[in-house]
């Protein structure tokens, strides 16, 4: 029989190697995109429209489109999400209702993004008659990230010690005044991290915008919220799978993928920086 020390050694080496393999795979993906994309990205790539049947030029309209969708979806999700979180943490108490709302929020968060695409098409594009447009896409994406905004806001609000609430109420402030003047300003930095993480998520989602806003090729920039736009993730999908000349578009695809990764990385880093920086501040107060 194998001694238990030997079996421990074998097991631990297996795990070390597994850890190494998985980490290597993940870094391989990152490294691969960075390696191939880094040479493509320059000022011109970021600021010109695609040319020559999308085998040349840059990705400027897609960047503008994604920016529009970020702004639009945040206008939808941020106020709604923050208010919803204020209601559940500050008003609704701890009963069945809150538990129900929380389960619903979790469920909404677990619905696959393609379903949001279907839903957005049925409601915003067809039933409400927005057509394929920034506004339809923004609503769809906004609902998609709503659970994320709500969850981060709830955490931010719960992190504020109750002494601040009682302190304010004891001075004769109403509940609403307490929330607006004391709680929200203190929780604000942490609420912002939710906003930033949502931006990261929105900028990479493809399935929800396929049928609600995304345009295959549209070098003209949008002039109103009822216009279609190009968007980075959809653009990557298009030029990776159905371009006119797949080999010629590869570099553009690498560049687009890298831009997407950079946006996501930046947003995550920013969020964790904010969390660490202001997390300390709230505690020492």
């Amino acid at each position: 029989m194998m001694s238990k020390k030997t079996s421990q050694n074998i097991a631990f080496w297996v795990f070390r190697i597994l850890g190494l393999v998985v980490v290597a795979i993940l870094f391989w993906i990152l490294g691969f995109i960075i390696y191939h994309g880094a040479g493509v990205i320059n000022w011109k790539f970021l600021t010109t429209a695609p040319t020559d049947g999308m085998t040349g030029g840059g990705i400027f309209p897609a960047i503008v489109g994604t920016f529009c969708l970020i702004v639009g979806s945040m206008v939808v999700a941020f106020p709604l999400g923050v208010m919803s979180a204020i209601y559940t943490t500050e008003y609704a108490g701890n009963g069945k209702l809150v538990r129900f709302i929380r389960i619903m929020t979790n469920n909404l968060g677990s619905i696959p993004s393609i379903i949001f695409g279907l839903f957005g098409m049925a409601l915003f594009v067809n039933a409400l008659g927005f057509g394929d447009s920034i506004i339809a896409g923004s609503f769809t994406l906004g609902l998609l990230v709503l659970p994320l905004v709500i969850r981060t806001t709830e955490e931010a609000l719960k992190a504020i010690p109750d002494s601040f609430r009682t302190g304010s109420l004891a001075l004769g402030a109403t509940k609403l005044q307490t929330i607006r003047r004391v709680i929200l300003p203190m929780a604000f930095p942490n609420i912002t991290t939710g906003l930033i993480l949502s931006i990261g998520r929105v900028s990479g989602e493809t399935a929800p915008i396929l049928f609600t806003v995304a345009a295959y090729f549209l070098p003209k920039l949008p002039t109103s919220i009822y216009d279609q736009v190009m968007a980075l993730p959809y653009h990557l999908y298009v030029i990776a799978t159905s371009g006119t000349d797949l080999e010629a578009t590869r570099p553009i695809a690498y560049g687009t993928a890298l831009v997407l990764i950079i946006i996501v990385l930046l947003m995550n880093l920013l969020a964790s920086f904010l969390r660490r920086h202001f997390g300390k501040k709230v505690k020492t107060n």
Binding site: K4, S7, Q8, A11, F12, F15, R16, L18, G19, V23, I25, L26, I29, F32, I33, M83, S84, I86, Y91, A92, M104, N107, L108, S110, I111, P112, S113, I114, I115, G117, L118, F119, A122, L123, N126, L143, L146, I150, L176, G200, R201, S203, G204, E205, T206, A207, L210, F211, P233, Y234, L236, Y237, A240, A253, A257, L260, V264, L265, N268, S272
Partner: protein
Amino acid sequence: MEGILTVSGAVTTITILLIVVFLFREGFGLFKSPAVERGYLLCVNGDNPVRHLGPKDIKEVFDWEITDWSELGGPNEEIVPYRFEQIFDVYSDEELGEDYELLPEKLGEVIASTPGIIAFIPEQYVPEGMDGVKILRSDKITPADFFGGREWLPTATPAPQFGVLPLIMGTLWVSLFAILIALPLGLGVAIYLSELAGERMRKILKPTIELLAGIPSVVYGFFGLVVLVPLIQKTFSLPVGETAFAGSVILAIMALPTIITVAEDAMRNTPRAMREASLALGATHWQTIYRVVIPYAGSGISAAVVLGIGRAIGETMAVLMVTGNAAVMPHSLFEPVRTIPATIAAELGEAPVGGAHYQALFMLGCILFVITMIISVTAEAISKRQSNKGL
């Protein structure tokens, strides 16, 4: 102001309700759609006793797979499938009149004179009320056709086929194999991170792995397309690299961060007292891990698996890009398959709004919705069991 807050508290519930309403309203419209392509009717000879046909029968008749009326409960008579365009082989445009006003009459003559005929005719040219012509009552597409059908041919004429089985099988194959790959790897890494890695290593690896969960699926799909697909094709010398296996590998990579993070948290939550008790009895570190830590973290680990499956089943873009999207019943991992989300993404743009195809895609959405709801409720129940333990 407080009223607005109360209403916004319900916003997620309202959204889910709206999703359910819109998804199911469009989806269930499918079962009100006729089996025959919209705008067309089927006619048979007036003496034919057959009164109605289902979508599968119609398709097989026109594919020459069913060749005798006796197979459909009719007389012993060979079936003659007839598409209305065939009339143009016999009559010239002049003979049919300027606006084809004589077309119904001529079609009627053909039908009346051919006992075994089944004719596929646009509604406006149907020879209504003519002797010897019977219009087949149009069957609706039934749930049995949809859920039991083995063929997904949404643009076939005269009867599009909306059999969802190949898509469900494709989804299950791809996701289950993804979990089979991801689970041992993910658990191994979780054990490494929570038990073996030094504090400094952990501090670097954990956020990196969490970060990888945030990379858009279209980027993973792109990576799969340019690296994995050619690699799989070469390694296994296949005709195409876009296979269920490619989808499983990409999904496994995408599910890894979720599985690792959740499982690692569960293992680190094992109380120190339990580890010490095990070590104090002479167990080695490894024995402590697999006899105490892993069983204790069991429900957390199950929750990780369930969440991973949920993510895999609903994932669209990456799978769409690497699985080849052939809507056939999968026979092996190394064939192209198509999943439910990929079908929706690939076809919704081309399906006419309100048509049977459009409704069928919403019905697919309903299936997906129900599956993910079940998964999400299961994961919730499992993690609740976890938090009740150890009291």
